[in-house]
């Protein structure tokens, strides 16, 4: 799966969590600017486990890997 395809899936789930139009969610926007808080972030992690079979909650959750849709998609792509 390409980074763009992962981004597209992540944008869909963020859109449903934050009740925003998917078009308003750009891959380089930091998660806090998209209205994602701790709970929203955990919802994204649950989605990642369900769709990509990666359990990330007990990992260090470094900012550089989890800051934006793009960085998270790149991280998932590397881990797959």
């Amino acid at each position: 799966m390409t980074v763009q395809e992962i981004e597209s899936k992540l944008i869909q789930v963020i859109s449903s969590i934050t009740n925003q139009d998917p078009a308003a969610i750009t891959p380089d926007k930091p998660f806090p600017d998209l209205g994602i808080d701790s709970l929203g972030f955990v919802e994204i992690l649950v989605f990642i486990e369900k769709n990509f079979k990666l359990q990330l909650i007990s990992t260090p959750l470094n900012k550089q890997d989890f800051e934006t849709v793009h960085s998270l998609a790149s991280f998932i792509s590397r881990e797959l």
Partner: protein, 441 residues
């Protein structure tokens, strides 16, 4: 379907969580000086004009007759919010307090503490505004009945008021406010399945003795508060530490863990017998793009965390336990199940439900309460032409346990409100909690 359609046209049927708020209100009215109310406080840099405020407020509130409603029951036994006859404008009191020099440095907090501990005047009163003028500071406080608003709804309502003041057309302001909601009795099967899942969780929580502090309910006590405010710079530092200790965006688990450690110290010093901590944490279930669609009533549910005292002293371990339980509950959709399951309780009269509430945990509902409203729904920096210095909440926490820490943020600032039923903590314990939060976060 016909029944649902007819009801949706003219009534707002309460959801299960509204009913739970109603039970807590009944318990609190029976045991403390007032019901399940809370308060949002806007600290202002200059004194607002009382006459102009009174006039604007009256015009604004006239758009929302729902404020003067009361709980009633449909012949199907589903509770609903009964609108006032003829959709009459609500009567909402406005109190004005002018503090003199004798009030001291905590005079303003004492004034808002008094206002939130004052019971509503009658069954149709769910909102009271307060203007407090101090020597060097002033505030506007809105005391609200938790059956009418949750915390985010209350902030959003004030935001709507600001939009109204800024020149919003009367008809447009209330345009999308949803005041009807169906029975939500069907489909019944998912609700029973949700009930089964919730029941299993509650039984698991009740297997172990719950750690709790004794509550003295003699003389129907009131709540007391201490506000621990952090500047933008201090808040940034806290978030950076949260990211380092708990992971990116894990602010809530970090704050929760630090609060746990602080209150654990109080429990240990008191020599509270061993057992596990059980802590409910509220979570917002709103789905609508426009907050006005879900402005009134309760759109919340709960997480329940159970933590062993042995897991508390090690911060990394405690954060891990909290994150793991949060993840598990999001995965199993526990907050949604709780909301669905609670809708089944609506058939039970509140006095009976009050007794049922006490069964699984033998009257101990929680060790303490924790809440974190991550982003303030009040988006403006002004109110009535005055600059807002800070916004904080003074909630009357559910009793039992009658103690809790409520975090909110405004304009980059972070506030922790320590809320306790008078007599539950000593003054020395509150000073220690405040100091540990200030230094430990």
């Amino acid at each position: 379907m016909l029944l649902n359609y007819l009801s949706v046209r003219n009534k707002y049927y309460l959801n299960g969580f509204d009913w739970v708020m109603g039970v807590i209100d009944l318990i609190m009215r029976k045991t403390t000086c007032a019901g399940n109310a809370s308060q949002v406080v806007f600290m202002l840099d200059t004194p607002p004009d009382e006459t102009a405020f009174r006039a604007a407020l009256q015009r604004f509130l006239a758009l929302f007759p729902v404020i003067g409603g009361s709980v009633s029951r449909h012949y199907t036994l589903t509770p609903y919010w009964k609108m006032p006859k003829g959709n009459a404008a609500p009567t909402v009191p406005l109190t004005v307090t002018r503090l003199d020099d004798a009030a001291g440095p905590d005079g303003l907090l004492a004034a808002v503490t008094y206002s939130v501990n004052t019971p509503f005047g009658n069954a149709h009163e769910h909102l009271v505004f307060h203007l407090v003028y101090g020597r060097n500071e002033q505030c506007l406080a809105m005391t609200f009945d938790h059956r009418l608003f949750d915390a985010r709804g209350a902030e959003s309502f004030m935001n709507l008021f600001q939009e109204f003041l800024a020149g919003g057309e009367d008809s447009r302001i209330a345009e999308n406010v949803r005041l009807t909601q169906g029975f939500d009795l069907r489909p019944w099967k998912p609700k029973f399945l949700a009930g089964q899942a919730v029941n299993r969780k509650m039984i698991a929580l009740s297997r172990e003795t719950m750690r709790s502090l004794p509550i003295n309910l003699g003389g129907k006590p009131g709540f007391r508060y201490r506000i621990v405010s952090f500047s933008r710079e201090e808040a940034e530092g806290i978030y950076t530490r949260a990211y380092a200790e708990a992971g990116y965006l894990m602010i809530m688990p970090y704050l929760f863990a630090r609060v746990f450690q602080t209150l654990h110290g109080v429990f240990e010093r008191r020599g509270v017998p061993h057992g596990a901590y059980v802590v409910p944490v509220s979570t917002d279930l709103r789905q609508a793009k426009d907050i006005r669609e879900e402005l009134f009533f309760n759109q919340n549910s709960m997480f329940f965390f159970q933590v062993q005292p042995g897991d508390v002293p090690d911060l990394k371990r405690l954060i891990g336990v909290i994150k793991e339980q949060m993840y598990e509950q999001v995965q199993s959709k526990f907050p949604h199940n709780l909301m669905a399951a609670s809708s089944l309780t609506r058939i039970v009269p509140l006095p009976v439900l009050r007794r049922i509430f006490n069964l699984p945990l033998q009257g101990k509902i929680a060790s303490f309460c924790f809440s974190h409203v991550s982003k303030c729904s009040y988006t403006s920096h002004d109110l009535m032409g005055c600059r807002i210095v800070n916004v904080f909440h003074t909630p009357r926490m559910p009793v039992p346990p009658g103690i809790g820490i409520f975090f909110n943020s405004f304009d980059g600032r972070l506030n922790a409100t320590i809320s306790w039923l008078d007599g539950t903590f000593t003054d020395a314990e509150v000073a220690a909690i405040e100091s540990e939060l200030r230094c430990g976060l």
